[in-house]
Symmetry: C2
Subunit: 306 residues, 2 copies
């Protein structure tokens, strides 16, 4: 069926409430909780063997990651996370040390961002270790930035360098919350998403929600050293990894040429690299412009469950 | 370690935010989202092989149950559920029919109670089918009813009949939302909880949170026909099942003698049976009074993970 097709199917069949400003289909849902306050909600499930491998990584890092993914989703709306609830399915014979290490990772990052764990559910099962985090956020008197706002002529900007996150960044990444709040407060961002499925797949989410297309500059895609390293093992090009690998958790955004220029020359984002990688166009799909000037269509490619 | 000990450990170590009115330790957490609005949040994870057995039950009923459990948690605070997010881990080779049936169960009950599914996460894994529901609720200008409000001299009331839910009610139960809202609107309830772990275990949650004890009248415990039926198989008494079996999802509450009388003679709850099963006392623990007048201590006994 495909993960994205399934989400579309669910979305189409879902009845709507009047106090839901934004339902299925963005990084978070947005609920109107009073006349002037919005509440954001996002949920992420991670399971051993799919999102990490406990034989190869520390449970402390997994706890940290579970929280960091949700922070990244709220950051992708340019908003402030507040509280979270955590459900955990422990395999049988889980030790106290394992639980303590898990929570050390959870608290290390939730304390850093002043997020309170307000509840949860703890169960045991015969399956692998599984953790689900649901996080709430608030608008902080800023407008949540949706996926659906990209306009023809917008520049496409991305933070950091991309690809090869499987070599480490998928566990150790710092969610771009500080940067997202600075961006939402000081600039007019039309559309934003965090890169979890992969650059081309997540850009495609923006394009589909906004009903537009994009031309990317091949030379401008910021390729990480990890992508180069991984490409030597896989035989794919570093560019392929930068376009297709998931879990970089960088911010991908579109905004007017003027605003893009302001960001690129601003020192508000300190030492975080921001790259202008292309432009929003009318023709649907993603197009890649090579240094020679040739343009070819590329297929969005990234991690999809199911 | 034990599920409840683990929850206590987490609770003690959790830092607090100013806008969190109620954190870990009740049916829902309560967050102050604006000057006059409260937001409730609860989360429940269900996994195949622990909470249900897909070899013996329909996935449609499992979808329904996942939503019904969360509705019951918000009902246990006397409040109104609004929206939910759902995370699902599908085993490999899940069919479209399975997904459609699951969502038929989810939507049947969420539509009935006007709850919108506003988001979620869909993943695949090598483990059993696992579903997590996080639900939000609103106070509806009513005060959320906590576990911690029981007072010495309070009567203990319970809805419905208890025990043997494993024979069917654990999947088919109707969450007591309508009744909970009527109770919160029309009466002064000191403490309330839904019976998910078992009567004695859930009563114990109220007692521990309130720092009191309880005397139960053996003759007044409402025993379900399912408890009688199950006792013939297990060799335990029907009373044992009514006290210990989980997942009846009835409401257990404490309130003043005067308010209890008002409820017992009221027709606001229509045809839902309400029983007065005992009284809150100063001495910690749960005490059972037999018809002969003998009093013996009983240990809270119910389902505990880990």
């Amino acid at each position: 069926m495909g993960e994205f097709a399934l989400i579309e199917w669910i979305r189409k069949h879902q009845k709507r409430r009047r106090d839901v400003v934004l339902g299925i289909g963005d990084d978070c849902a947005v609920i109107n909780v009073s006349s002037d306050k919005l509440c954001l909600i996002t949920t992420d499930m991670l399971v051993d063997g799919t999102h990490f491998d406990l034989k190869k990584c520390a449970i402390r890092d997994v706890g940290r990651k579970a929280i960091a993914c949700s922070i990244s989703d709220i950051a992708a709306m340019g908003c402030q996370p507040t509280v979270a609830v955590i459900s955990i399915c422990f395999p049988e014979h889980t030790t106290k040390k394992f639980v303590r290490e898990l929570y050390a990772g959870i608290w290390h990052i939730s304390d850093k961002y002043a997020i309170e764990i307000v509840g949860g559910d703890i169960i045991s099962g015969r399956g692998p270790f599984c953790i689900n985090v649901t996080m709430l956020g608030k608008d902080n008197e800023l407008k949540p930035i949706l996926r659906s706002g990209a306009r023809v002529g917008d520049k496409i900007l991305v933070t950091g360098k991309l690809g090869g996150s499987i070599l480490g960044k998928h566990l150790s990444f710092e969610p771009r919350l500080k940067e997202a709040l600075v961006l939402n407060k000081n600039f007019t961002i039309h559309a934003m998403i965090d890169i979890s499925d992969g650059l081309s797949a997540d850009l495609n989410h923006i394009l589909e929600e906004s009903g537009v297309g994009a031309v990317l500059d091949e030379d401008q895609i910021p390729i990480s050293p990890a992508a180069v390293k991984l490409s030597k093992k896989t035989g794919y090009t570093p560019l392929y990894h930068a376009l297709s690998d998931g879990e970089d958790y960088e911010l991908l955004m579109t905004l007017s040429k003027v605003q893009a220029k302001r960001i690129l020359s601003s020192d508000l984002l300190n030492d975080v690299k921001v790259s202008c990688i292309g432009e929003i166009v009318k023709s649907n799909g993603i197009w890649m412009k090579s240094s020679g000037g040739n343009i070819r269509p590329i297929k969005p490619h990234g991690y999809e469950h199911l």
